[in-house]
Symmetry: C4
Subunit: 230 residues, 4 copies
């Protein structure tokens, strides 16, 4: 358990330093010993999150233990996806700028290099307008969260029109790796499409690259690097 | 009062670190106890401003107490807007590079993501040439400042052609949030228009997102983050 | 010997700080006293590499001395090129983002300024698909590495489609200089082609500039700078 | 005299930190008490330059006092311009990336904001090919330097095709201000031309803005900021 909580705190810091999270966004981890519960920070900027900031919520996003802590309004994203996806053990909602640029333009993100393959075969796009009309764009009701989870389906990333992205993984480290490389791939895709037509990875390359990139050896190597950076 | 002055010093530092202000630009706060007066730094680069640098000016931009301090030439912007807009409690004039790029190109800034909604429904553009012909582009006379304030009208941001922007808020923290996210939205809009036609927020989304983003909870969360960064 | 090992450790750090290597990528140096062997770090992020992380491998990429250290999967690139190119004394495989953008777009990198001339007359491009079909894009078999080395031929850089680049040099310092300026030139080429048709260096200019840039005086000047940066 | 030497050391550091100079480039100051001589660092990366690195050269770029120090090959640029332009008291040759992008593309730099006005009415472009054919692109002979100075004529900046720029000023601080804002304006111009047709400053605006920007008050304000940054 301790290792999950340590990884969750580290992920907050790493994602902040790598430019995936800034003052906003949040990352959570499912409780491996009680899969109907998950851990997430109280409402606090990710760069500042410490172990004592973590709270445990049920899948309806209510604190398991009484608390005065203010909670993220968009925590409903986490509960809805943990309900819909038993394989998912960690979730990050973020506004990484290169990713938001694609969500603003309404252009699909696709893997243009081997590390980008971790986004998976397809990144579906969810538009709050489709079902909910004019909103503040936040996903703050269970209905909105369930709709987002349905669009995510069995993929690893869902783009959120004019807002950001929600990324999922089978562990905190896998989730962190995917969120960082989604952002890096978006930067590359933006540069590449200014030079000519895209030639993204094939379905086979995505499958094979993704498996290699998410191996313990590869994720472990960069995790050591990320967590050593002050 | 102390809290306003503390926030004003912090805003100078935050806006410098976030790349809104560099060696130039300035930020002010209206005196909440005497609304015909405002506080602003003596002429000094924002990153260096300390409490002792603050001076109090009347709405004709004259020091309330005798001082030898050199003052910003463009302080007239502040007096003119505080006169025209009783609701405005804080003002920032800046040359944030992504914002100036739009002012150089003569392209309207529009919200392309939920956080950008804080710029408001419309960002009018002021061109010093229209009334004043060839100038040094600085707003340094009461007439120029009054013209700028008239173009701002009841909006939250006025773009200044080939120069920068002036941003206003109902508090120092709201102003700071708006100035930072105006800059971030400009970066995103620039990237998005290289990929395809824009689909900005609707009027309803701007209204709703802006209200959420400027709530105490949201601004407070990122203010803690910003003021903790060295 | 010590100077080669010191330079190799320094090169890892410099290339990480200059944004050529990040958590991934690797750099090696041939043993000047036994040219059938080379030094490279155990599998570790370049920013963290210390003298004790270096291992010595033969040209079939097997450790010369028994070791428990995990090794880079793509170390086969190094052995294959050292076999094929007796003049090469140092090699770096990297995913520098501006370089990967060109590899994603399938656009040739060419020198657009005098410092970019160090990439040489031509940067051939290798596509793993041509001979090997769908893979994880890593070069991890001797056959793939030999194919890459054949495409490199007698050039100084080989672009790797949707992946990165492999850069070679006649010394660690020359290699480091070339890898950094390949990246800087890619950034400039990307900006320049957004403004108009390219007018790259002539073959004569590439030859003359490259010779000057790779002189001991020029490389020594910037090496002092790079190694002094924390 | 001391103040000139102090400013020259500070300018090396400031221009390095502001991204105008990197490992390469150089900045000099004419001796105000003997206008046939100038000060410049020995061949060293600008970020590292200290008072003890400064040497005094005559206008044929020979050391006034015997020295073993290695000198910049391109110091001939300085002597030639000091000969041709009695009003010039300080010179910087640099490869600031946004400036080199324009020199690679062959596109004229023009002021797109008030601070960019300090580049002056016109930035002529010099191409080493025109008179000297294939070279290593460095300006390393008196003939090349005289040709460059002739193209500079009575302007404040000369663009050097596929290479960089040489900037001049009437003081070290003016020169520093101009070199930094030439770079910032190039970044803005590059972004602006991706959005639509340019509308640069008029000749009158350039004249008036430049005069204001180069006043002691404005330069002094940012000089305090720049020299306070570590």
């Amino acid at each position: 358990m301790d290792s999950v909580l340590d990884d969750l705190v580290a992920s907050n810091r790493v994602l902040a330093r790598e430019g995936v999270l800034d003052g906003f966004g949040h990352v959570s981890a499912r409780n491996p010993h009680d899969t109907k519960r998950y851990f997430i920070s109280r409402s606090r900027s990710p760069a500042l999150v410490e172990r004592a900031d973590l709270v445990e919520l049920d899948l309806d996003d209510r604190p398991v233990r009484p608390t005065d802590a203010k909670l993220y309004a968009e925590r409903v994203i986490h509960g809805a996806i943990y309900k819909a996806r038993p394989d998912v053990m960690s979730i990050c909602h973020n506004h990484a700028p290169p990713v938001v640029a694609f969500c603003a333009a309404g252009i699909d993100m696709v893997p243009v290099c081997h590390l980008g393959a971790v986004m998976g075969q397809r990144v579906p796009s969810w538009d709050s307008r489709d079902e909910f009309g004019d909103t503040d764009l936040l996903v703050s009701t269970p209905e909105q969260a369930a709709s987002l989870a349905a669009t995510l389906a069995d993929n690893w990333v869902v783009a959120m029109r004019r807002h950001g992205a929600t990324v999922v993984g089978r562990s905190v480290r896998e989730l962190t790796f995917r969120a960082v490389h989604l952002k890096l791939n978006a930067e590359l895709q933006l540069q590449a499409i200014q030079m000519g037509p895209l030639s993204p990875l094939t379905a086979g390359e995505i499958e094979l690259s993704s498996r290699t990139n998410l191996s313990d050896a590869v994720v472990g190597r960069i995790w050591e690097y990320w967590t050593s950076q002050g």
